[in-house]
Amino acid sequence: MSGFNKVVANYDEALDGLTNDMTLIVGGFGLCGIPEGLIAKIKDLGVHGLTCVSNNAGVDGFGLGLLLEDKQIRKMIASYVGENALFEQQLLSGELEVELTPQGTLAEKMRAGGAGIPAFFTPAGYGTPIAEGKEAREFNGKMHILEESITGEFALVKAWKADTMGNLVYRKTAMNFNPMAATAGKITIAEVEEIVEAGELDPNHIHTPGIYVNRVIKGTFEKRIEQLTLKK
């Protein structure tokens, strides 16, 4: 299956073609299920002017927080940010632009972007600052606003397992935004914990079919925990 072998040998190959000013759709919720190695490599590559679409922006020194250190991110589209000091600094100094988007709307914008749906109506945000400048319309007696979908030049996702053909399986809540991100990138790169042979994943339980995935790389993951909370 030469034409369908998506496995790449290293991070350079994985991120080949990434240049300044591109839009990246990045999976993960907080620090859970983020493509750690791909993000670290983008720091090394030094590309800048990036627009990052991701629910959160990492923390100081980890996740997307890494890309703030050298001011590689020009704009964040996210639902919840500011878990780190650098983010706040750059936001206040105007070096970083933020477009806050309700979490469900953000998830749906990625899903719609991947699904060829350019816009949809949602009730979320009607009557709030989020609705400013957006078309509002009543359906079934309730007000909704029109939201446009999001796509990017690259999507960076983290999966548990991939087969060589790019079929992906996520694990527990590390799934989060990854399945939609995988569909919304022109080039989708999956960083995974394990690569198996094609045919080893149950066809009935593949979360992201390989058609969406262009490159697969085996990563090593720290899996840092943001809020370790134990039973008392």
């Binding site: 919720f29 907080g30 620090l31 859970c32 299920g33 629910n55 996210a78 639902s79 919840y80 940010v81 500011g82 878990e83 706040e88 936001l91 206040l92 806050l100 309700p102 979490q103 469900g104 709307t105 998830a107 749906e108 990625m110 899903r111 949602t122 009730p123 979320a124 945000g125 009607y126 009557g127 709030t128 600052p129 989020i130 007000m143 548990w160 996520y170 694990r171 527990k172 809540t173 590390a174 799934m175 989060n176 935004f177 990854n178 399945p179 939609m180 979360h207 899996k223 840092r224 925990i225 943001e226 809020q227 370790l228 909370t229 134990l230 039973k231 008392k232």
Partner: protein, 218 residues
């Protein structure tokens, strides 16, 4: 006496019913899980992509791939399922969550809620709150009746940027259980030992007070 955080959670827990799917926000709402009445089963939904959230893990069972919407490590209960954030909010917007509990800075008598942004302060974002309040049929807001300066948080009209418009019908504050309809607050119950006068004095919006205002029972 104003309710404690635990009592607030206990009073909110009285809104639970057997078989309810419930989304609990961060803070006091999270505590509601500790007061599910005996003989009753509820399933907790966490909007990052989990239905059937359990208690916090031990050091042995902690799993970085298993967190809740507050980014805390959690466990699951029998019958749990994982899904994407898009599927999670489809579930929420589709009206499948039976009860949603969240905090607020302000609520007004039109059912507007402000809970995510204080102009001039650093804005961290709304997370899933706007989707939750715009979608849920049955929302309970739990908060202190007044802020630390003694200013009412139950207003004629919210002063802060809204999280959602006309979506709040029930408030459990530390002083009272209040319902909102017909563009007014309606006093239904008072916290044990709290006078109707105190509630009136700390409610800036229009408050309808019936002749008899029973105390909350725990």
């Amino acid at each position: 006496m104003a309710l404690t955080r635990e009592q607030l959670a206990q009073r909110v827990a009285q809104e639970l019913r057997d078989g309810f799917y419930v989304n609990l926000g961060i803070g006091i709402p999270t505590l509601v899980a500790n007061y599910v009445p005996k003989g009753m089963d509820v399933m907790l939904q966490s909007e990052n992509g989990l239905l059937g959230m359990g208690e916090f893990p031990t050091e042995e069972t902690v799993d970085p791939d298993l967190i809740n919407a507050g980014k805390q490590t959690v466990t699951t209960v029998t019958g749990a399922s994982y899904f994407s954030s898009a599927d999670s909010f489809a579930m929420i917007r589709g009206g499948n969550v039976d009860l949603t509990v969240l905090g607020a800075f302000e609520v007004d008598q039109s059912g507007n809620i402000a809970s995510w942004m204080i102009p001039g302060k650093l804005i961290k974002g709304m997370g899933g709150a706007m989707d939750l309040v715009a979608s849920a049929q049955n929302i309970v807001v739990t908060m202190t009746h007044a802020n630390k300066k003694g200013e009412s948080k139950l207003l004629k009209e919210c002063t802060l940027p809204l999280t959602g418009a006309g979506c709040i019908k029930k408030i459990v504050s530390d002083l009272a259980y209040i319902e909102i309809h017909d563009g007014k607050f309606h006093l239904v119950e008072r916290a044990p030992g709290v006078s109707v006068e105190e509630i009136i004095s700390k409610t800036a919006g229009e408050l309808v007070v019936p002749d008899n205002v029973p105390e909350m029972r725990f």
